[in-house]
Structure formats: C-alpha cells, structure tokens
C-alpha cells in the first residue's frame, strides 16, 4: 500500500496512507477540473469528501449548497462533477461568486457551465424565509462570515436540515457568533482537518441536533 509524507504550510503528516492525494484514487479527478498546477490542500480535500459523503447519504433528496467564498471554486467544480448532472443538486452563491468558464480546460468547461446552470444568484442566504423547508442545506463559509452563519442557523431553526462548514476555522483565531449557535442549541466544533462543522440532522419536530 502506498505510504506518503504530506506537508503544507502549518501541517506535516508522515507514515500515513493518504489516499486523498493519490492520483490513482478518486481524488485524482480534481486536477482535470482545476488544472494540473492547482494544489488542493488537505483541509480542502477533506471538506470535499465530507460534503460528498453528506450528499451521497441523501441519495435522491434535493440538496442545496451555499458557497459564500471565492476560495471554494474547487468545491463548486468537484461537487458539480460528482453530483451536479442529476437534477437534485443546486447551488446558491453570492452574486459576486463567479466561475469564468473561458479559463477552464476543455472538460472542466462543461462542468463549469453545468455549475452555472444549476446555480441561483438571485436569492441571498439572508432571505432564508424564502428557502424551501424540505431542502437539505449545506453551507460553506469563510471564517469571517458572522452574519451569514446567523442566517444559516435561522434556516435550521425554521426546520431545514443540513450542515454548516467554516473553512480555516481551526487554523486561525476567528471571531464567530458562538452565542447565536449556543442560543439555538447548536455548536460549531473544529475538526482536526482545519474546518469547523455544525450539523442539524433532525427536523424542528425534535431529535438530535
């Protein structure tokens, strides 16, 4: 079995099987989408796999992913390639979240075009009341997105199920709306991979949060 040593700024892992980085494994599809010079970091790969796991678990249910960060192009393309060519995956992004398909390679361009076609830029997350309560919601935020995290929590309060992810949460001393989480009975916890996560996997009818 392949054993690897991986290092990036602030992280070094030795003598572990790191299949996420093997070009012969599933993650080997990423370079075709992002370009072969783009380095996808450990946390980013982890986040992609975690979100992929959640989407797979929903099987045929409708899933909407909120991407509020320009750094998340890899998620947009990676998730669209994996799940976006069925009708039950949708994206909502900030108005200024753009993927310039003209800069993408041949095959990635089609994935980029598909991403654009299943992406809604009209409804901002802060207008959470307009979001269908049946939808499974996945939010991915940058670390300074205080206001958006509060809005996401309101969606869970309203009855949606889903998850919040905050990139670089464990890597830097970010200010986050912990009171908002606490007041609504949630917790944003950090993962060893570097992102923060909060799951709401039951409806407002009760159950585990």
């Amino acid at each position: 079995m392949h054993t690897n040593t991986y290092s990036e700024q602030g992280l070094a892992i030795r003598n572990r099987k790191l299949s996420l980085f093997e070009e012969g494994r599933e993650a080997g599809a990423l370079p075709s989408l992002l370009g072969f010079t783009t380095k996808v970091k450990f946390q980013e790969r982890s986040l992609l796999e975690t979100i992929s796991g959640l989407i797979r678990a929903r099987k045929h249910e409708s899933v909407t992913i909120f991407l509020h960060d320009h750094e998340l192009k890899y998620l947009a393309l990676g998730l669209t390639y994996r799940f976006g060519f069925k009708d039950n995956l949708h994206f909502r992004v900030n108005a200024d979240f753009q993927i310039d398909v003209s800069k993408l390679d041949l095959f990635a361009r089609e994935v980029g075009l598909r991403f654009n076609s299943i992406t809604n830029r009209d409804i901002d997350i802060t207008r959470y009341k307009e979001i269908n309560a049946q939808e499974f919601l996945i939010f991915v935020f940058h670390p300074e997105s205080d206001f958006e995290q509060r809005a996401a929590l309101q969606c869970f309060k309203k009855g949606n199920v889903g998850a919040i992810f905050v990139r670089d949460f464990a890597l830097q001393g970010v200010k986050w709306p912990f009171l908002a989480y606490r007041d609504l009975g949630f917790e944003l916890s950090e993962t060893s991979d570097g992102f923060g996560h909060c799951f709401s996997l039951s409806s407002r009818l009760g159950g585990y949060k």
Binding site: E23, G28, S32, F36, Y81, R82, F85
Partner: protein, 534 residues
Amino acid sequence: MKNIEQIILANLLKGRVIEAEGVLSENLAQLTNPLAKNIEGIIARFKGDESYAEHLFRESILVDRTFTPAKLNLANSLISQGRYGDALPFAKAGFEESSPKTLQCVLPYLTALLDTAKADEALNIIGSLPDSLKRDRQIQLATASCLRSLGDYSKAISILEALMQQDPSDIIATRIYADVRGEADVRFNPIPFYDRCLELAKKRKKAAIAPIKWNMSLHLLRRREFVRGWEYYDAGLDASVGSLGRSLPAPVRRYSQLDLHSLDRNRWSLIVVEQGIGDQVLFLSALNDIQADLNKIVLICERRMFPILSRSFPSIQLALPGLLEGLEITSFPFNGIAPIGSLQKNYRASIADYTRSKRPFLKVDRKSYNDFRAQLLDEAKGKTIVGISWKGGFWENQQRNKAIELKNWESLFNRNDVYLVNLQYGDLTKDMKWLEERNFHLRTFPEVDFKKDLDTWLSISAACDGIISVSTALVHFAGAVNQKVAVVMPDVQGPWILGIDDTRSIVYPNVHYFRKGARETNDELIQRVIRIIR
C-alpha cells in the same frame, strides 16, 4: 471434523452447494473458527464470489496464522482474480508449511512465481520436489514454462512434445508449445496449433480460452493478420491471462464499455492508455483517427506523459487514472470507456491503414529541443551526434532478448567521428564503470531522470542526429517525433509490431530495423548498423 469437511467438499464437487452450506451450518459448533471460515470460503469460491472467499480466507488466517489450508486457498482465490503478486506470499507460505509436498501446495506457488517473472526460482522449487511429483503432467508443464521464460527453448520443446505425444488433446501443452516454437523460431507458424487449441477448447466446458486467444493475437499481429489479431487481442483483458495480459485499472472493466456505433458525439468518451509507455505511444498513433470519430475525448494517462500529450493533442482532455475511480459515483454523462488497444481494430485493420497514417504525431518542446541541440552541436564539434540505448523490457525474457551489452558496442565507441549521447534509462552504475575503465566517452545527463522526465528525454532524443537503440520505449517516442532510429535486434523475435522480417517500421516514418543474421554476433550486428552513420 475431518469428516464434516470431506462431506462438504464431496457435496461441492458434485455441484450441491446448498447441501454443502446446510452441512456447514448444522455442524458449525463442532468446527474451529479458522476451519469454518476456510470451508465457508471454499463454498464462496464454488458460488463464484471470489472477493467474499478472499475475505473469509483472510479471516481464517487472522484467527490462526499457522492454518496452512487457508493460505493455499487464499493464494488460489487471488490467482483466480488475476492478482498473482498478491498471491505469491500466501502461496509461498502454503508451500513451505506443507509436508509432504503435494500438487495442491506446489501449483499455486509455481503459478504465482511464473506470473511474477521468477522462473529461475520456480525451476529451483521444481528441482526440490520428489521424483513422483516431478513426473506429474502439470509440473512438467510448469517446467516447460520456466524453461521458456529462461530462454531454454529446446528443452522446453522436448518436454512439451513428449506431453503432446502422450495426450494429443492436451490444450495447455499445445498452447505452450505454440508459444515456445513461435518465440524460438521466426519461420515457425504457430497459428495452426493455436487454432487446434481453440477447437479442443470448444468441446470442453471449463477450458480457458482467453490465454489461448491472447497469446495467439500477438502472433497474428506479428504476421499482420490484423482483423483476427485485434479481435483476439481483447482476450488480454481477461483475468485468467494474469499480469502477462493487458494490465489496466480495475474500473475499466466495471464501467460501461464504449460502443463506437451508438455514441453521442457531444458527450465525452474515456480512452485509457495501457501497458508500458512504449505501447502507449504506439497506440497513440491512432489517436487522431479515433478523435475524428469520437469528437470529445478524455485520455486517461500517467502524469509524466502530460507535457508531451497536451502539446501533441491540444484538443484532447488529459486526466489521471483517479478519474476512473469515481466513475460509478459521478453523474457526469460519459459515453463509456475503452482501453486504447481495443480501439485499434477500428483504425488499424490492415497494412494499408498503417501506411496511410504513417506520420509523426508527437511534438517536442521546441525551446528545450533548441537548447539541447545547440549544446550538443557545440560539444560535438562537427561529429555526428548519435543517441544510444542498449537495454529495455519489463519481463525477464524481454530483457534478455532485447538487450545488447555495452561491450558489444565497442566498435561504436572507437569511432572518432561520432559523438555519443546516452538515452538509456535506469540504473547505469555498472555501465558507467565499464566505460570509465576503457576511457570511452558517453555524454550523459545525470540530472535528468529519463523515467520520470519523459519530456526532457524526448527533447534530448530529438536533438541527436540519429539514434541507435534496442527495441525499447525510446524507439516509439523518437519515432513518433520523426527522429531517425536504427533498431538493433539481437534476437530473431521482437515485439509484434516489428513483424517477422520487416526492415522498417509500419508506424513511424524514420525507424529501421536491423535483425541479427543467423551467424552474426552482437558485435558484428552493431558494426553493420554503424556503417550507416555518415
């Protein structure tokens, strides 16, 4: 306990799997855990579920590491899956722990050794067996295979002829006989023997047809019988052929195959390169034709090939093998998948097809080429710049048949009108020492790893005035950029693409073959080749 096991096995041999399962479940309490898991594994094998059987045998070994039957069964299961390398340690342990030595314990070991190019070890094992076992037909066949791998064709042939005389309907003996004779003697036509094997195999239910067709395909292609050759070439994908066949990533077999007749030209089609880098380049010679039909191609290849391929085929999307791993998960609408070797039948069905498309198809990095060319011209000071490569091949017999030791190249090193450039990859420590002792000069590029940096290797190859090389990947790369290449063949036979008596390549415009004459030595062969240098 032995009785229960025997009853279960007797049921299985009669095809009564359900009854065997019944006996096992009724007597489970009486059986020890490793024995129960082992029997369950045997039942799983009878049901055709090799992966579950593998799991059960492994569990059995985990519970009791001294339980030899499970090791032998695991080895057999892995061999059935075509995983000979994985099977080897279990087959070895099973053999070493068994006493007395029986066919059941020696055969998996010999099979695994032979498939992993360890024929000399296999021959030693056979030598250590009691005479009664050595006389067994299957051991005799294994002996012939070992001798063939080690190049002792005449001994192998006499063993096989004796076996065929005893039983003229022995498919395996006839097949190996065709393999050995075809390999040893270029004038011998093995096709009628393979045809006989196929005829015999039709009459038997469980005869393995794929190994016959696969070996036959290479001879058919060598004889330029392309239509049947390519048809049988696909047998090389069958697990029963093992690692001697066409090694491809597992998902290629699981995902839907590309159907050229019903594909959607607006969708992407996945093409997978296969085998060694030389074969990859050879098959890429048809890529432009393939693209004309398929339109949108994702070419799955090794990363080290990217710079060359992205430059040479700019409208083809390159991807790493990892893309295949997610095929069953992705919702991206692909047309399907095809190994590039399997598409050749549609584009290379005759010599005329090759002749029509005989042109360079790879491009060198222009800047890198210019730099190396200027550098070599400056160093050569008017001498002819000749790149050389003297060894290659992956399999033991390939390495033996292809290589010409450096000492045979002495006449070339003695020429003072030639500036020699090393294009040989791999460990050259011994060769460099030999050159140093004789004060021969060979321009090397130790800073470039030719196995990894294929692009620079190609630039240096193209920057020479010409190349003299044994049949190795270099010939394909250099030939594909229109470099002049003289291929020296120390053995009568080469890879199928070199044909039987071809003197020039059917694929590359400037590649010529120099076959060793019947009474010619390797020294003389090299001397004959270097006369072409002007």
